[in-house]
């Protein structure tokens, strides 16, 4: 996972609700067996429109996507956050995220920042902003907007911790649980 503590960058506003992961990265690119290289296919179909936000010169080099509610709905494909990250985005700011998309982002260190809709609207026109995970604020034009994130995820992302490694330490608890599983549960042995 890519650690995230603080990042300043340009905002790209994508003013749409319910953006699904099929739009973020269409199916024809899911055949690759690598984790990298998805950035060039990000929003593949929408990028055919010369006016699409990522094609506009004023948003070149943007590293913070600001978008509408329920971002990342639909398919569970982690290729969507991979594509956003590979393209150069470090954080996505939205009024809400789909459950699976948000979980996937937290695993790879692409920071999902949830803020009230009115604040998100403001930030869409902000130009440059700073996202500070340590202080839990997004700063734009000298104003701090506080956001909530659960403490466990916050620390994991700031330190870039390997979550599997943390769980592996619970081996004895896992083994004890397995002892008590009913034997009629199916196994493919």
């Amino acid at each position: 996972m890519t650690p995230f503590v603080r990042h300043s960058g340009r905002v790209a506003p994508l003013d749409k609700a319910d953006v699904d992961t099929d739009q973020i990265i269409p199916k024809q690119f899911l055949k690759r067996i690598e984790r990298t290289g998805f950035g060039e296919f990000l929003f593949f179909d929408w990028r055919k429109d010369p006016n699409f936000v990522l094609n506009r010169p004023e948003y070149e080099g943007a590293s913070i996507l600001v978008t509408g509610p329920n971002f990342g709905c639909g398919s569970s494909r982690e290729h969507a956050p991979w594509a956003l990250q590979d393209y150069g985005f470090r954080a996505v700011i939205a009024p809400s995220f789909s459950d699976i998309f948000q979980a996937n982002c937290l695993k790879i260190g692409l920071l999902p920042v949830q803020l009230p809709e009115a604040t998100v609207r403001e930030l869409m026109g902000a130009g440059d902003v700073t996202v500070d995970l340590d202080r839990q604020v997004v700063s734009a034009d000298g104003v701090d907007h506080r956001f909530e994130i659960d403490e466990f995820s916050r620390i994991n992302i700031m330190e870039g911790l390997d979550e599997i490694g943390l769980t592996v330490r619970q081996e004895s608890a896992i083994a004890a649980f397995e002892e008590k599983r009913p034997d009629w549960m199916p196994a493919l042995g």
């Binding site: 319910d18 690598e34 896992i174 599983r181 549960m185 196994a187 493919l188």
Partner: protein, 461 residues
């Protein structure tokens, strides 16, 4: 304290609980397919980790697979499938791949093999894992990093979502089937309505559904924004399971039954939210837009756009507000997917097409959800009904539900589809999808346009 079904399932799988941390849940069954697993296996290798419980892991190939085994998948697809084979054989994971009589869409084969059982936790790198909740399991989709976590540890750290009860009561009107219940729910709660919740489907309508119908309803839980949907197990569930390959037998069956019968929401248990739907008010639904919440009854018209999202959807779908749904003509019909490609679905569709012929301008295909469904349908002669009516009869896979294989819509083509997503480009770039039930898709194939199954001669059976 009285507990919800979801709480019982959750609490009985907590390996470790610590203040401020997500609960560590044990996973009883991990389903794996070719698209969302290669990077997870690669991650394990890089970290020098092994698959902890290959015996609780099952792999199949479904997303990429050609639905005519005579067609060779493209090279990248082949590499992805080969990679799954190699990963499974190295880890000792059972794989139902190309050529296996058990191969099929991952969410079809779990229940069909009797691997999906009440009281289990089931995950898969696929959002429609919610399907398995129909048997009273806690089942949800995960991303590839989580797939890696489960492969390595057979557990997953998760925060407990809230509880949402969706109660559907009453008899379903003639011509209204499980798919319409799902679309009716989503058009009521919206595509984000279930976000952050575990859904329990309750009420007499749900109780009266067949197990296959419940699978359809739970399948589309994710389209309403919730990660998991479930139905408390009952005699319908037990009758479905008994005798299946991986179902317990003999004394173990009796023990399991005792345990399963307790898997109900206790009297007086509280849900965080509740939605009540009157089955009598449901109709056959058709989606008009580019998300499953944009659906109306087949008797309706394309609505006036209420938002920018609606306007964009109308443009993409090349539809005008006010157009009668039944005036929308079609180029393609797809009967398939993990939503609606079980035997019951194919029977419902076959009953409509029997003795009729697909409209000359429509290309229609049936893609059974698994090779077992295909074999069972052929044993009943359903393949002949479809073939004689002019449908293509394909081999099992996800096919045109997402078009990773050659089964895709051409730009501008319009399709009535029994699948679950009508997103832009879902069935092929520029393709336009109308989500419907299997009988509605069958009737539309014959008529050449969307049509009300209740007025289709003999169609509502």
């Amino acid at each position: 304290m009285p507990k919800t079904l979801a709480s019982k399932l959750w609490d009985s799988h907590v390996v470790r609980q610590a203040p401020g941390e997500p609960d560590l849940l044990y996973i009883d069954l991990h389903l794996v397919h070719e698209v969302t697993s290669p990077q997870a296996f690669e991650g394990l290798r890089l970290a020098g980790r092994r698959v902890r419980r290959p015996d609780l892991t099952l792999a199949t190939m479904d997303h990429n697979i050609a639905t005519s085994r005579a067609e060779a998948p493209d090279e990248i697809s082949q590499l992805q499938m080969r990679t799954l084979e190699e990963n499974c054989s190295a880890a000792g994971i059972r794989l139902y791949g190309v050529g296996s009589r058990h191969q099929g869409i991952v969410h079809i084969i779990g229940p069909e093999l009797g691997l999906t059982q009440p009281g289990m936790t089931i995950v898969c790198g696929d959002s429609h894992t919610s399907t398995h909740g129909a048997l009273g399991a806690l089942a949800f989709g995960i991303g590839t990093s989580e797939v890696e976590h489960v492969l390595a540890t057979q557990t997953l750290p998760q925060r407990r979502p809230k509880d949402l009860a969706i109660t559907v009561d009453g008899d379903l009107p003639l011509g209204v089937v499980a798919k319409d219940v799902a679309l009716g729910i989503i058009s009521k709660i919206g595509v984000a309505g279930g976000r952050g919740h575990l859904v329990e489907y309750r009420g007499s309508t749900i109780r009266d559904l067949s197990l296959e119908g419940r699978l359809t309803v739970c399948n589309m839980t994710i389209e309403g924004g919730a990660r998991a949907g479930m139905v408390a197990p009952d005699d319908t569930t037990f009758a479905y399971l008994e005798g299946r390959q991986f179902a317990p037998r003999g004394a173990a069956w009796e023990q399991a039954l005792d345990h399963w019968r307790a898997l109900v929401t206790d009297e007086g248990a509280a849900f965080d939210h509740e939605v009540v739907i009157d089955a009598g008010g449901l109709e056959p639904y058709v989606s008009w837009g580019t998300n499953p919440g944009q659906s109306v009854p087949v008797t309706g018209r394309v609505p006036e756009p209420a938002s920018e999202t609606d306007e964009r959807a109308l443009r993409y779908m090349a539809l005008k507000a006010g157009t009668a749904i039944q005036d929308i003509s079609l180029d393609r019909v797809f009967i398939g997917s993990c939503t609606n490609a079980r035997l019951e679905d194919l029977r419902l569709a076959a009953a409509v097409v029997e003795g009729r012929h697909v409209h000359p301008k429509v290309r229609a295909m049936v893609v059974p959800g698994s090779m077992s469904v295909r074999a069972a349908a052929e044993a009943e002669g359903l393949d002949r009904v479809f073939l004689e009516a002019g449908f293509e009869w394909r081999e099992a896979g996800c096919s045109m539900c997402l078009g990773m294989n050659p089964d895709i819509l051409q730009p501008g083509e319009r399709c009535a589809s029994t699948s679950n997503r009508n997103f832009e480009g879902r069935q092929g770039a520029g393709g336009r999808t109308h989500l419907v039930s299997p009988p509605m898709a069958a009737a539309a194939a014959i008529a050449g346009h969307l049509v009300d199954i209740r007025e289709f001669e003999g169609g509502a059976g």
